[in-house]
């Protein structure tokens, strides 16, 4: 069963087995299933906003088109590329964790974190621009350029969904940072012990997944 390369020294690092689990495989399965369920709740959380988006897009199609064109597509595209690439590095981190290459795990996670910060910086500039010209949600809307009913609603949806997504980026960064510290300090990830990296990376992929949908919805249509 242990087909993958072993960590140096022969003793395989193994996570602590909690007393109430029958075996390690049960424990891992439980952790993974728990994570999937948690991701399901996250998806449903964003689904609420998608519904608001869908309903208001249905009611104000023209406002939606006009407002989405006022966004900065270049920045949005760069952010998409950044996030997709960070997802790649997160996946690679799991890959190296399985092979026990702890240094590489740390490097990949560090790359992910750097890109996450990049994402947030770009997002900050986008937000800043909007605050300047006044394309703000609801009653704060003060942009003269687009005067259609429903445009403030577009920005309500825009700000709510990107802010919620941004919050998830931050949470994901914290989770991944923990794995990175562990990879550096304890360096005990290996073929039997990579659940922590895997779960963190799954969370990160979810953040990416949500953005994959938010991007065309907000910027392109």
């Amino acid at each position: 069963m242990q087909s993958s390369s072993h960590a140096a020294g022969g003793t395989l690092p193994v996570p602590r087995l909690a007393g109430h689990f029958a075996s390690l495989e049960v424990q891992n399965h439980a952790a993974r299933l728990g994570m999937w369920l948690f991701l399901a709740t996250e998806i449903l959380l964003f689904a609420g906003l998608f519904i608001c988006y869908g309903v208001y897009r249905f009611l104000f199609p023209e406002a939606w088109a006009a407002a989405s064109r006022s966004l900065d597509l270049t920045m949005g595209t760069i952010n998409t590329v950044v996030l997709i690439t960070s997802s790649l590095t997160a996946a690679l981190a799991v890959h190296y964790a399985k092979e026990g290459k702890n240094k590489m795990v740390a490097v990949q996670i560090a790359l992910t974190l750097v890109m996450a910060i990049g994402f947030l910086v770009i997002k900050y500039f986008e937000y800043h621009h909007k605050f300047e010209i006044g394309t703000l949600p609801g009653r704060f809307y003060s942009y003269e350029g687009i005067q259609l009913p429903g445009v403030p609603m577009y920005f309500t949806v825009y700000f709510c969904s990107t802010a919620l997504h941004g919050l998830h980026v931050v949470i994901g960064m914290v989770v991944l940072a923990f794995s990175m510290v562990r990879a550096l300090k304890k360096a005990d990830f290996g073929p039997n012990n990579y659940t922590m990296v895997e779960l963190g990376s799954m969370y990160w992929h979810l953040v990416d997944l949500v953005w994959i949908f938010l991007f065309p919805m907000l910027y392109l249509v």
Binding site: G19, E25, A30, L37, F38, G138
Partner: protein, 556 residues
Amino acid sequence: MTPSSSIAAPGATPAPEEHHDHHPSYLVDGTTIKSWLLTVDHKRIGLMFLFWVLLFFLVGGIFALLIRVELLTPGPTIMDAMTYNRTFTLHGLVMIFLFMIPAIPAVFGNFLLPLMLGAKDVAFPRLNLLSLYIYLGGAFIALWGMLNGGLDTGWTFYTPYSAHTTTTVAPVLFGAFIIGFSSIVTGINFIVTCHTMRAPGITWFKMPLFVWAIYATSCIQVLATPVIGLLLCLVTVENLFGFGMFDPARGGDPVLFQHLFWFYSHPAVYIMVLPAFGVMSEVVATYSRKNIFGYRAVAYSSLGIAFVGFFAWGHHMFVSGQSTFAGGLFGVLTMLVGVFTAIKVFNWVGTVYKGAVDFKTPFAYFCGFLFFTVFGGMTGIALGTVSLDVPWHDTYFVVAHFHFIMVGATIMAFLAALHYWFPKMFGRTYHEGWGLVSAALIILGFNATFIPQFLLGNNGMPRRYYEYPERFQALNVASTAGASLLAFGFIIIAMYLTYALVYGKASGKNPWRSKGYEWVSESPPPTHNFVGPQPVFPEEPHFYVDPKKAEVPDAV
């Protein structure tokens, strides 16, 4: 039987405390306050939930009595309109978010799920403790908000009123939002427990029906709660900053709020009532010494209710500006939920057939439960019959209906569970006579409270009315009289159960001679539930056939 796995070997040494010779029950295994507050034992967490849930039930109950007293006369009686509006809001909020939703899953689910599955604990014990503290944190934030101003939106928080009212909406919504996390964590924990922690031999279709019910409930909690979380956040933001997501002045759609709200809050009804169904499946099997008639039908119908129940939410919105077509769609789906519930009712009655009924207190509650489920359910179907909802919507008919099904059925199940598993939890017995008397009082009181409300609704009295036209008074007085009877019943229960807790006779391991899986362990169980080798579970739960004739389980 032990899972043999090469990878498990190095770390798989069992926890050392399992090899003690003496196995104190979980109640006395550690007596410091800290050993309770920081415990990860699912049984202790369950008991702590029980304590808080009962406390909040008391709070909600006091609000209910205040409402009933206020409604004794058509005009102002004991409070002003604002206080009344806050009181019914708090009654709803406390009862729903702090009592009904955690009542059975967090207390009895926590306590019994691992016992019924032959596991030492739930899958994530620390998360389990965390869920308790999240619940308490949210509860106290919400209560703080309620005491510092209170809010008057009704528990439904309908916009635009909730976005504009000057009462303290934000902290209460935030508290409810936090409680939602507790619900999600508990749900995830239970689902994973059902998937991974079943003892050898307990396959999916050998799980006790209570576990099935809790499993279905957990699915709902996991899938529905995030949506209300988001919605509460949006309303909070709207109330604080005016983002205008549901603001009609900016094109916002108030009906959209209702869609999102009921997407959670309708399944939430099943979060409250499905565990009650599960409890009753156990109770009826034990006291009539029969296997459940149509086990699979009952199990599948739990899942069916959980699934279809999700998509029936729009029957709360037949007259709220939703389209006629959508009304029909939701109406049909509502009927399907009714069918699933009917299956359960028939199978419970079928379970008694050729059984051996022992009319103990929990069984008395089963009778009450059957009554409330049938009438609560049937009035629900009537309300789902789209056109009948037009006059009934938001009148006391609806109030009486959901108190019957959601409260009546669940309270019956909660009390039945409390009595049925009292020996399991505390190893003591209560006074049977008082149990039956109070059960009778509560069932009578409940009917006396809510049957007049059905009639009030027919007569046209809208809900959330502080003052009402005089023609409604007679029925309101009847209802209040019933409520006092109900309160009296609860006081008796509190007294004799507290007495039993301290002075009750030792119950022994299995006082009801039940063949449910939870009775395989000791009563009360030791800290890790099972001592020594993997316990052997009966072939299936509630198998009462004479062992000599056990070979031929015949179809009817």
